[in-house]
Amino acid sequence: MDQFFFAAEVFINGLMTGVMYSLVALGFVLIYKASGVFNYAQGVMALFAALTLVGIMDGQVPFSHLINAMFGTHLSNFSWTVGPLVAIILTAGVMVLLAILIEKLVLQHLVGQEPIILFMATIGLAYFLEGLGDVMWGADIKTLDVGLPQGISDTIEQATANWFGYGFFIDRLDIWATFIAALLVAALVAFSQYTKQGRAMRAVADDHQAALSVGISLQFIWIMVWSIAGFVALVAGIMWGTKSGVQFSLSLIALKALPVLMLGGFTSIPGAIVGGLIIGVGEKMFEFWVGPLVGGATENWFAYVLALIFLVFRPQGLFGERIIERV
């Protein structure tokens, strides 16, 4: 019986991890839908957002290492700290600025290139942003605390212990992440369904040419989409950063979001969420049952192999659009 409850706990924790994956995958889907760009840099954007947030909250001087190296000064921090809410708003502003710069400096010049060239450009962007984040804010591991509750939830442990005689260990941060993710998705759906800009965004996603011909500015839409993706990256960065510290490995969660996308389909927001849950649960359960037999650490590759096997049977993913090709 304990074994069953333990499996159930692993299952629930898998769901929570899946939500986190979905958060990153969402950013990918938004950009891919609206511009056909497969944005490899989404994970690094999350890292960059988290670094900026910590930097602003601690009142760090940006580029202090570089300035110190160039001019022999000893700058490090301003004498103030910034509250979480203000810092989040400022960081969101930085991400919008970043979106504008990316559009102006990169995407605008690559209109009409093959998708693979655009993909490569985002890999370049990922390298650049990673370097920029480190140069701006330093590469040391930072803790991020915006006031989200953390640690094992005692209430749930007590309650389940009374009901089943087995206390479930569930991180409060995960519960909050689930809640915030749901809120974010609801907001995104509402935005795309009920606002003028949202409708324009969907029009661009459906057909660039047609959208252009009815007077929608592609440039504006792309900047908007990248800003939203930047904001989603910020939310993901806050969650992951609070959970495991702000460090380079944070950008690697982007790699985890890729199989989520493959499973869910590149163009589907529900797909990103369902895919995230399946991968999150799948890898935790696989590690639980099969991991001990093969030496563990199966989480590194399980998601990919699952997605790979799945794709052989359904190439467009769970919710993806069926790819119809004509010669």
């Binding site: 490569m120 370049g124 650049f128 920029l132 590149f266 030496g295």
Partner: protein
Amino acid sequence: MFYREAGDFKTSYRDDSQTFPIRLDRWGYYAILAVAVLVVPFVINDYWASAILLPFLIYSVAAIGLNVLTGYAGQVSLGTGGFMAVGAYAVYKLMTAFPEVNVVIHILLAGGITALVGIAFGLPSLRIKGFYLAVATLAAQFFLVWLFNKVPWFYNYSASGQITAPERTVLGWAVTGPAASPAAKYLICLAFVVFAAWMARNLTRGMIGRKWMAIRDMDIAAEIIGVNPLTAKLSAFGVSSFFVGIAGALLFAVYLGAAEVTEAFGINKSFLVLFMVIIGGLGSIFGSFAGAAFMVLLPVFLKNLLVGGFGWPTDLAAHIELMIVGALIIFFLIVEPHGLARLWRLVKEKLRLWPFPH
């Protein structure tokens, strides 16, 4: 002026379709090859071998391999690092299991084993394509690295989990292990580079290469005119992995000497080789060399400039290097998506007429 075609007449189809149809070009390449074989081994020192020449040669082989797959057959792969690891571990197992066999044969066999693994991971390419396939090849990358980490048989149950190349000789000269001289290492790598370039060039301009290019340009149309996508795609995966496996074997056995799989063959290696192919030029053998040279020389140059020249701390220089590499990749993609090979072709076009504009 520099590119003299006048008087360079062809009287047979055979002459017309040779690799270097311009006589000047042909002699130029022979001259470079002669310098590489007859001069460089005598002037080479440890720094040049380990910092520039060996990585350049080895990554050239890897870039040629990936270029066959991505540039000629149009299948994007992010699993290069994993396949290089297969080559490295295959050569390690062969070297320790059959010490009396020549190491050259081991390296070729390692390439063959990698080809088989590559074909296995290429199987999904029949159903999925584009980004889906690119991401699917990441499965190979992560699974293979995990496998070599977790199964002790691959690293002969060594305590550290590392593999170390034992000393092996070719014609009496040590080419692997600590006793190998830079010249011997250089020459064996050069031999494999020449072999790889020669083979890839001839494969890609023959029937099989045309099939790959037909699949790349429009797979459905290719199928209609009678190209079998199964054999075309899998042969591309096989040939590509063969070269990548050889590159991995050389990287481990000749260059590094000892390797730990997550560090030496991680995802960054996949991206590095992909950058070489993109910057050098998709679908060009010369581009593979140009890209490899660029990506090998750039960090050396930046390190000399930033740390040696400006005296900045190494970690800051490393971060700035990341920024510059990223920015350069974007810059190249914007200015010349077809890479250095295309630039070189343009230079040649200009030189053909120089000093007259028309």
